[in-house]
Every structure is written in C-alpha cells, then in structure tokens.
C-alpha cells in the first residue's frame, strides 16, 4: 500500500511538472504565431521593468508597474537569458506550493492518500496552473504565505517573521493575517518545553471530533466582558508575539525604506499607495465597480468610503475572533472574504485562497457529491454569468452596466454561499495543541 501511494505521489509531481513545462512552451508558440497572446499582459510589464533595471534605470519607468522592485530584480534573467525565465520561476513556485501543502498536512498527521488528493486540488486546478505559466507572480506570494505557516508550525518564529515582513512588502494583502498570527503565537503557542519550545500540533483524525477542541478553549469562566477581554489581550503579550510583531514590522519597513531610498516617491506611489487607495471604475468582479464609475467625476464622501470599508472590516473581525485558532481555516475564510468584499476584484486574486483550500479539505464534512459540486457549480456559474455580461459590454459595445453590476451582486452572493457552506461543514480543529491543563483531547494518529 505504501509503495502504491508513493508511486502515485511521484506520478502526480511528474505530471504537474510536465503540464507546466508544456504550457510554458505552448505559450511561447502562441505568442509568436497567434494574434491573441497566451502570456498575461502583466508579464510583459514585469519584463519591461526588469529590462529597465538591467539598463541601469528604475522599474517604475515602465507604466503600470505596481510591484516591489524585488520582482523586477528576480526577472533580470528575462533580458539576460531568456524571456520565459520568469514564467519558469513562477511555475516552480506553483509546484513549491504543492510541496508545502503536502508538508503542512503531513505535520498534522493527515494520511498520505488524503494528502495526495488535497495537493491535486491545487496542482491540477485550472486557475492555478494557468496563472504561473501565463506569467503571473501570485504563486510566489502563495508559496511564501504557506512557508510562513510551516515556520510557525515548527516553532521558527523569527524565520516566520522574516518571510512575513517580506511578503507583506511584496504584495500587501497578507497583512490581513497579522492578527490571527499574533493570536496563535499567544500564551498557548509553545508546548510544555516553555516559551522557546516547539509547538505541538493537533493531529488529524478519521473520527472527526467536533466538540473537543472548542470546549477546551476557556479554562476559567470570565466574570464579565471586560475581564474576558483583559484575559484575551494579556494572553497576546508574550515573547513570541513581541518578537514576531517587531521583526516582521522591521522587515517590512526595512525593505520599504531601501526601495524608497533607491526609487523615491515613484516606488511609494506605485508599489504601495496605489494598492491602498485603488478605486478602478472599469468593470471587474467587485460589486463596487459601477458605484465607483457613477461617482468618478465628483469623488466620494467620507461616509461612502467608510460604508464600503465596513462590511469588509466586520467580516474580517468576526472570522478572526471566531476561528483564529484553527489557523489554516481562518486564513482561508479571511482570504475569500477579503477578495469578495474588496473594491476591486480580478481573477488572479482567486489563487490567494486556492492555495489555502487544500489545507482545510481533510477537515470538511462536505462530500464532493453533491454539496461540494454544488458549491463549485454555484461559484463558477455565477462567474461565467458575470463574464457573459462583461463580454457584451467590452467586446460587443452594448450598454449592460446594470446587468453586469447585478451579476457582480450575484457573484458576491455565491461567494457568501460558499463561505457559509464551508463554515457549516468544517470540523473546527485548533492548529496548536493547548497546554495539557486545559484538557483538550489529542486525536490518535491514524494511517
């Protein structure tokens, strides 16, 4: 049996590598021979920016380059070696995500066969294998986020902080994970060995125990809301949380500082401030696009800005407060919600949560038939519905703004439906085992 699953594992990896190499090669052919390119427009932007750096200039000389200069440095071989270098790097990161998913699930005692299916959910997801091969850099971000998770699971707090600070500098959105990271690094993070000890991970079990982990959370009954708030906040002030917060913050400001010194306000405006203040009136999946277009000539009031931020804030806080100890689950839901409630939403953002989905699959009670399929069909169907109206607007020139906006509302409803289904069918399982005193059960590891 062990030989069979090992062989299957190697076949999955080999097939994934072959698929990506074939797609990169095909992409080069399509770009050279067909009118419509396979390569993403963003890849051309990265390559031009890298060429500008290679010539001694700034990456921001290239219009619409809105990334850290690190990406341009990474793609320098595009002009020195081969234009497909970047795509190979992104595809390699994509494969690394598969490896990290396997590592995380193995650390939690998930049996090999279940792990393979979870990894397949990433490696053969059409959204994901096209992203890297078309030249999108998101797989690098996904790999870094998973690496931070692995470091936390292995007790390497400083290493986690290093990569976390770096990846927030690179892409900003992982900042939403800051609070759950701090919460899990709190009082109960380290094992019995003490604050510097390696944390103990809750293991997967085929007998999914729903109640056990939750009831172990509160040892003492709080006398008041204020008291429980005080207990909660004081549990967050530990050596690990302070180290993590200070070091990751320092990393972020150090990288930002270095590039501000090198490239000035161009860097700050394009790579940082643009993403924080971006309001794009052009059509995209977000429900806010038409509202933004209808107000683009007169601007927005403070109330409107707050109103568009409030639902995002509410749902992020609720998810963090409720699920942060089941860290992969919390990160997954937060990312889905962040993308769904954001003011701009494009298809490349989907990989941000697709890389976290395999981490929660072994803990779901939802079977593929039929609830799982229903979620997939609802989500993809509402997306296709939106794409149909977008095609009529952009490529047929028909005024279907209202229909397209409604399709965006339908897509938000679909995302909400999927989130609720996932929540209702998830077996909550804290990532880090609480201390023995709290009486939590450790599920027996089963092959």
């Amino acid at each position: 049996m062990a030989v069979t699953t090992t062989t299957l594992r190697w076949r999955v990896m080999a097939a994934s590598v072959a698929l990506r190499v074939a797609l990169v090669a095909y992409g080069e052919w399509q770009d050279a021979h067909l009118e419509v390119r396979y390569t993403d427009v963003d890849y051309l932007v990265f390559s031009d920016a890298a060429a500008s750096v290679a010539a001694g200039g700034s990456p921001f000389a290239r219009a619409t380059y809105r990334y850290s200069p690190l990406l341009a440095f990474l793609l320098l071989p595009n002009s020195l070696l081969h234009p497909a270098w970047g795509k190979l790097i992104f595809s390699a990161a994509d494969l690394l995500v598969g490896l990290f998913i396997d590592t995380i699930l193995r650390l939690r005692g998930v049996p090999e066969k279940t792990r393979i299916w979870s990894v397949v959910a990433w490696l053969f997801n059409p959204f994901t294998f096209t992203i890297g091969t078309r030249g999108n850099c998101e797989p690098i971000v996904c790999a870094a986020v998973l690496w931070v998770l692995i470091c936390l699971m292995k007790g390497r707090v400083l290493q986690a902080a290093f990569w976390y600070g770096l990846i927030v500098h690179f892409r900003i959105y992982p900042i939403i994970y800051a609070v759950p990271f701090v919460i899990v690094l709190g009082k109960n993070y380290a094992g019995p060995a003490g604050p510097a000890g390696r944390p103990i991970l809750t293991q997967w079990s085929s007998k999914q125990q729903l109640q056990s982990d939750k009831t172990s959370e509160n040892v003492e009954e709080p006398t008041s809301l204020l008291a429980s708030l005080w207990i909660f906040l004081s549990s967050l002030v530990t050596r690990n949380t302070i180290l993590f917060g200070l070091f990751s913050g320092s990393m972020f400001f150090a990288w930002t500082g270095v590039f501000f010194y090198l490239y000035g306000w161009d860097f700050l405006n394009e790579a940082l401030l643009y993403h924080l203040t971006r309001t794009d009136p052009r059509h995209n999946f977000s429900i806010y696009f038409y509202h933004i277009y209808l107000h683009h000539q007169q601007g927005f009031s403070s109330i409107q800005k707050l109103a568009s931020f409030l639902p995002q804030l509410i749902v992020q806080l609720a998810l963090i407060l409720r699920f942060s100890r089941d860290l992969p689950f919390c990160l997954f839901l937060q990312t889905v919600a962040f993308v769904a409630f954001n003011k701009v939403m494009t298809a490349q953002y989907f990989v941000w949560f697709f890389c976290l989905l395999p981490l929660i699959l072994p803990w779901t009670r939802m079977k593929l038939r039929w609830k799982g399929l229903a979620c997939m069909l609802v989500w993809m169907g509402s997306q296709l519905h939106w794409l149909m109206w977008a095609y009529l607007l952009e490529f047929k020139g028909r005024n279907v703004f209202v229909q397209l906006w409604v399709a965006g509302l339908v897509f938000l409803a679909a995302n909400t439906f999927v989130m609720i289904m996932v929540i209702r069918h998830h077996n909550y399982s804290q990532l880090f085992l609480m201390s023995v005193k709290s009486g939590s059960k450790v599920a027996a590891k089963k092959e």
Partner: protein, 248 residues
C-alpha cells in the same frame, strides 16, 4: 528634416495637450538646407488619389483602417522608388475618449508591421475619459515596391475606448477628425544613418467621418446602485458573521 524632428507630431503637442513630447533623445544635426537643394527638381513624387478611413470592429477595442491609393502608381511610383526610399507618415489626432496603447504599437514595430510609431500626449491606459487628456499617434509605414504594385496601402491602427463621462442616453459618441498624411522620402544612396528626409504633405481630402459609440453609465442610476451595493455588502457580511456565530 533633421533628427530632432523625426516625429512630426511634436509640433501638434501644444495644441493638443500642452504636455511635453515623448520622443527619443536624438542628437541635433545642423541645418542642411544644401543637401535638400535640387531634391525636388523635376521629381515626380507619387500623388495621392484616394484616402479612405474606416473604424472597424465592435466594442471597446477597434481598429482604424486606412486605405491609401496613389495615382499613376504603375509608372510614376515604380520610377520614383527606383531612386528613393520613402515612408508614408500618418498622424491621427485622437479625440477625447479614445487611446492607443504604446506597448501594443511597439509590438507592431517588432513584428515589422510598422517601420516606427509614437504616441504623444496622454498615454495613461487606465483612466476614464473625464480624468484624461487627448493624444496623437504618428505611424511610419514603409512605402515598398511590393505594396505599390497594388497601388493601395492598408494601415491598421488598434485603438481602445476609455470609460466615457456619464450620460442619460447610455452612449457617448466619439468623432474622429481628419488625419494628416505625409510622404517622407530621400535618395536611396543617402547614408542609412543620416536623418535627413524630405517631408511632403499629401494634402489628403477630408476623409469619411469615423464615429465610435461607446456605452456609458447613467447618472440617474447612482442613487439605487450605491444603496443596493452597500446593503448587499452588509447583508452578505452579516450572513457570514451569523453563520460563524451559530456553529457550536
């Protein structure tokens, strides 16, 4: 024409946008009027007989297709091209609401569809019409013997529509003005690195009007769209919060 004026459209910029030209840095060449002496004497430069321009395609991404015919091309053009290298230069001053993507056009140069191309003015690819300025495109197209055998040059310029200002009719109308057509030519034995070309305005007659209808938002929708957007977001977020709170 000296190198510093390789792009003719530099001269249009103040009229268009008041912005600085985006052109390559080239070394100044002293006036060489003497070199031009005698260039026009007894020279049968091809004469424009017909120019057609059509906006082709649907939606927000279309092409302006120019069809340029020269008179007596079988004899005069062939004789002319025996001794001279020539480029057709088209300058299209784009109306507000339409833009050309300089990176896309550069790809055309790499594929040798155009000899050269430049975009002047507002080259921002993302801003809506109300927040952007006008631009102009200058295309240099090789006047080759093989194309003039048919006496008909066809040039396609890809263009994209910006999001127009709001209008209750639901559509904005963008009208193109007439393009300028010039012929750049010089003797074939001129050193290839020389920047001296003779520029002749082809005096193109006003072409057929090109009109682009672009869908636009309706300001009357602002109230209900904004309200329903915020309410939907709130309802969905509270649904997720409720689901998270209710599981035991």
């Amino acid at each position: 024409m000296p190198c510093s004026r390789t792009y003719v459209a530099d001269a249009y910029l103040d009229a268009l946008t008041g912005q600085l030209a985006q052109h390559r840095d080239l070394t100044e060449v002293p006036e060489t009027a003497d070199l031009c002496k005698g260039l026009d004497d007894d020279l049968d430069v091809p004469v424009l007989s017909e120019v057609h321009r059509q906006l082709v395609g649907e939606g927000s991404h279309r092409r302006l297709v120019y069809s340029v015919k020269f008179g007596n091309c079988e004899d005069d053009a062939v004789k002319f091209l025996d001794g001279y290298a020539a480029n057709l230069v088209i300058i299209e001053k784009l109306p507000s609401g339409v833009f050309a993507d300089p990176f896309e056009l550069q790809h055309f140069v790499e594929r040798k569809v155009f000899l050269d191309v430049a975009v002047f003015g507002d080259t921002n690819l993302e801003l809506p019409s109300a927040l952007s300025n006008r631009s102009a495109v200058e295309i240099h197209f090789d006047f080759k013997p093989s194309t003039t055998m048919d006496c008909n040059l066809v040039v396609e310029l890809p263009l994209h529509a910006r999001y127009p200002p709001l209008d209750s009719s639901g559509y904005a109308t963008v009208e193109f003005g007439s393009p300028d057509l010039l012929l750049h030519y010089r003797k074939k034995d001129t050193h290839p690195d020389s920047c001296i070309w003779v520029s002749k305005n082809l005096d193109a007659e006003p072409v057929d009007k090109a009109v682009w209808r672009v869908p636009c938002g309706n300001g009357a929708h602002a109230g209900f769209v904004s309200s329903l957007t915020f309410i939907s977001a709130l309802v969905c977020s509270m649904s997720v919060v409720l689901a998270a709170s209710l599981i035991s």
